[in-house]
Amino acid sequence: MSQSCRLPHGGRVQRSAPVRFFFNDKPYDGLAGDTLASALIANGVHFVARSWKYHRPRGIVAAGVEEPNALVQLETGAYTIPNARATEIELYEGLRATSVNARPDIEHDRMAVARYFSRFIAAGFYYKTFMWPRAWWPKYEERIRDAAGLGTVPDTLDPDRYEKTHAHCDVLIVGAGPAGLAAAVAAGRTGARVILVDNQPEPGGSLLWSTDTLGGEPAGQWIRRVTDELATMPEVCVLPRTTAFGYQDHNLVTACERLTDHLPLQQRAGVRERLWKIRARRVVLATGAHERPLVFGNNDLPGVMLASAVCTYINHYGALPGRQAVVFTNNDSGYQAALDLKRNGAQVVVVDPRTRSGSGLSMRAEQAGIRIIQQAVIEHAVGGTRVSGVRLQGHGARLPAGTESLSCDLLVMAGGWNPVIHLYAQSGGKPRWCDQRACFVPDVQVQPQISVGAANGDFSLAQALSGGVRAGIEASAQCDFADVSGKAPAAWATHASTESPILPIWSIGSGKAATRGPKQFIDYQNDVSVSDIHLAVREGYRSIEHVKRYTAMGFGTDQGKLGNINGMAVLAGVLGQSISETGTTTFRPNYTPVSFGTIAGRELGDMFDPIRKTYLYEWHVAHGAVFEDVGNWKRARHYPRPGEDMDAAVARECLAVRHSVGLLDYSTLGKIDVRGPDSVTFLNRIYPNLWDKLKPGRCRYGLMLDENGMILDDGVNLRLAEQHFLVSTTTGGAARVMSWMERWLQTEWPDLKVYLTSITDQYATATVAGPNARKVLQKVCQDINFDKEAFPFMGFKEGTIDGVFVRILRVSFSGELSYEVYMPANLGQHVWNLLMAAGEEFGITPYGTEAMHVLRAEKGFIIVGQDTDGSMTPLDLGMGGMVSKAKDCLGKRSLSRSDTASPHRKQLVGLLPSDPTCVLPEGGQILNAPSTAAIAAMQGHVTSSYMSPILQRSIALAVIKDGLNRMEQEVTIPLPDGRFAQARICSPVFYDPEGARQNVD
């Protein structure tokens, strides 16, 4: 096909640059500068889609983002985009698009029969049926789902890159039509930082299709001059192809910049889309207006188009949407389309419900020889896959003879204008209905913004320009950028033209006409017609919000940009109330849909959340570690040797610690430096136990409670000096504990002289554990005396290893003789290497967190978060003795509440399975006896469970109701396979209960 409807000249398309593309698998030619929609129109293609519910043939109605019908699956494979709007897709070589929602294709759509059942599937029909027999609902639903959705999700990974940026400016201007451009120049000249965004490929807005002149210049020339000037201003940034899609709180405007979608696939590289989070001191909304369709029977036929779209296709794209046109207009805008059509050789008849006004445009139409039928409306259109004619009806007068029906291949609608108030409304503003202009306009400002031009209901070019200049100057002034006198542009002169007022018509004919005649569509995409609104009201769904939800009006990908206002007006009519009383639905982001990829940005995969690495991370990797996620950290879980599974590796690592010596990277523990004269008082208030008596050089275990008395965290604390402590926390709890302590300090106890400093990252930690631990350390550390008397259990010392400052703690989480070595992290690897080398003769074995867990469970040491769950108190752990009676501390009062103090709560105990080879499932429930009943009384659950390599049997920790009183009793643990395991309640300390090993000489 050869662009049979391409005009011989005119438009902004590049005639020397033909572009080959494919629509529904057929090849077509278009021109560079076309959109997919304009190229299709240039090729005479109007039937491009099927509607969502009734699968009616649909054509292109609009020329911009408001298009409800022409949705395509753009491309296939990795680059595909579901539901792309043909009116927004810039044509590129090789483009492939298919209509959505039609199988096998729009011509032979199998679901097209739906339109014949339409009266049985009116709004909300599914709430009334599919209920019998009850068991069939899933089958019905399967069918409903099969029909659901428009485009399809890509089945391959997205090859594109998405960036995000924060931006700040004094004045953000949304929309680069005449109003926005004028505002940008005015603001830019003051020196303010300005960002101007526009969703079209180039600035100009409606001027791109206008035949107007500005200050004597044709629009195109004016745009060029103004944008050239903006380009010279260093503090002005112009972003084309950028849609402001959300107006968030505190003047944050989110915008999406599209960088590569207009390029042929093989030329795409780099960033596809960039999300701009623009924090502006002032916002100027110059977003223009969308034209409204008129509501009459079959107003959805392909070939029924908005007047502004017709002008756009002719003037911007050089494509003629029809040769025999009927223009149905209730205001003067339709005449512009009539003139443009006529000028390009089409036959035109105008149908206008108003009486003859003699306004500028209508006079020009008359002079051009266009036939105008006044005081008439279109009752309905006729046609199949394209409009072929219309039936007229008089409006307050009889129709002139012979005009009852007219034939046409294009039906142009001009129903008035809806200012694009979406962003204004999102900013919190409540739009106000203006009867005179028959539209909602912005009213009181809530955030620091202002609407100008058509977005403000100021529809003339002169108003757009003067409003823009004024807004630009004012917004800059509010940011303290004065208009340096003489620099502000005087608004440019435009043609003055008289306009006669709009005569709003919201639907044609009576209610009966709507319910019985051809469907009058309000929301094209969701097939909502006037009769659906009547039905909703009849059934009691009267609020505009009920109507929206009952009929799905405005739910589509266009969010009702064309239909909503007509729908509200129709509803108002049915309810006999004003449009003001009826109100709008809530405007919400997104103004137009935005790719999930853009909102996600690059924070995916390894960058989804920070991967925190210890000083040994690379070493762990090199030594085959399997990692486990704890908080943001990657911790080495175990180091399997070739042929070993996890159990084997863990058993080997455990036994190495029990029999000789192991080495553990323990750096992830949180470490907080607590310093100041009131440190003891502070710790006494934070922890249940007493800190006064702890001597410098000694360590003590502490549990931390929240105000509800539940265990928050635990750790071993060091008293470095009289007024100086080092507090340690769990890996996952470090940040929480730090802010918890800081919070109490600042908000509740500001009188306490204590400083907290996190030193988690400064110090790397290596745990040397096992009977040979001392020997290893003695080899590398000469300036510390490791003898028992000099360096007892729960003591610590400072010294050096190869000249590196180290602090060594004699503490034990494994029950063995064990030392924790703290060293500056930059030298951690070095010290670790020395320890490995020194331990070689003892077979020193690096062990991971899994072995650590087994070793500690053998000793009955808890892990906060595993053996506790936010509902456990120290009493429940059998650690009630830690709660000092001598003082108050956070959470203490909660422990004496009746339920919390009850001796019959769940308590921590050990479990010995009767079958020593059976490792109980962690999270297993505990019953008093085997039960296959649906409901049984649960006694508690298994919190930790392992095969103990040293005991050569399974062991577990559990919390059990009244557990401390139930020692030696048998309980039952149901297994996932339906069997039951028996176990005996015992002390949680399974190994070396006297603690002889950690206290060795």
């Binding site: 890159r161 960036e163 940026t165 924060h166 931006a167 700040h168 400016c169 930082r193 260093p234 503090e235 940034c237 112009v238 972003l239 910049e257 960088l259 590569t260 390029l263 590289a269 780099g270 960033v271 960039r274 989070k277 924090r279 690059r602 924070e603 390894d606 960058m607 959340d609 920070p610 991967i611 925190r612 690495k613 210890t614 000083y615 991370y617 690379e618 950290w633 430096d673 310093r675 100041g676 004269p677 002289k753 400083y755 400093t757 030193i759 988690t760 990252d761 400064q762 110090y763 790397a764 190869d802 000249g803 590196v804 500056p824 992290a825 930059n826 030298l827 951690g828 690897q829 070095h830």
Partner: protein, 210 residues
């Protein structure tokens, strides 16, 4: 006795960098790690008698008391972190034992000086696109009208905290980014990724004037 060569920065995972890791292009954006910078966190009450003077005495630098500003002396740069907290960064090549000197000088005052030389990593980002790279991850306004030389600020870089300081490298725009050790690898990787569009071929971004 350990030597310089035994030290490791948190960026070892990016390929062993004896002199610190670098990546990028001079004319566009260049990321350089400044390894093993001596850093000390200092807490104290600026209003308490003698405190500021004692600090000045021991390290030769004023402590800035205006939020988000920096005071620099011959071999030390003091960055405001909070009304009673500073990060001291030596600017010389050799460690100067800041923490110990402060401990000695402040004696029995209410203060806390903690060595953080291993706790943080210092990165420098320079070049015409440096600001655009930072703006991707930081919600802060980095425009020279809002954030000039002599200022510093703690903020976010994607999902981690950083301390930013604006530098003037012989007229060229540059930033110092100080980040906690365990987050440094993440912070630098996401920064390197952010730099990509300014280094390789690709479609030019909208504008870099932000």
């Amino acid at each position: 006795m350990w030597t310089e060569l035994d030290q490791e920065t948190p960026l070892v995972g990016l390929g062993h960098p004896p002199g610190g890791f670098t990546h990028g292009q001079l004319g566009s954006v260049l990321l350089a790690e400044l390894p093993f910078v001596e850093l000390t966190n200092l807490r104290g009450e600026p209003g308490s008698p003698g405190f500021l003077a004692a600090v000045l005495d021991s390290i030769g630098s004023e402590l800035p008391t205006t939020p988000n500003t920096v005071a620099t002396s011959a071999d030390c740069c003091a960055m405001w972190l909070a009304p009673n907290e500073w990060l001291l960064r030596s600017t010389g090549a050799q460690p100067t034992d800041l923490a110990r000197r402060l401990d000695a000088a402040l004696g029995r005052q209410f203060f806390a000086a903690t060595d953080q030389s291993s706790g943080y990593s210092v990165i420098r980002l320079s070049g015409p696109h440096a600001r655009a790279v930072l703006a991707k991850g930081s919600p802060l306004d980095l425009h020279p009208r809002a954030f000039g030389v002599g200022q510093c600020a703690q903020t976010l870089h994607f999902k981690t905290s950083v301390l930013l300081r604006r530098l003037d490298l012989a007229g060229q725009e540059a930033w110092e980014v100080i980040v906690r050790r365990s987050f440094a690898d993440y912070a630098v990787r996401i920064m390197l990724d952010a730099m990509e569009e300014y280094l390789g071929p690709g479609v030019a971004p909208g504008s870099s004037s932000h």
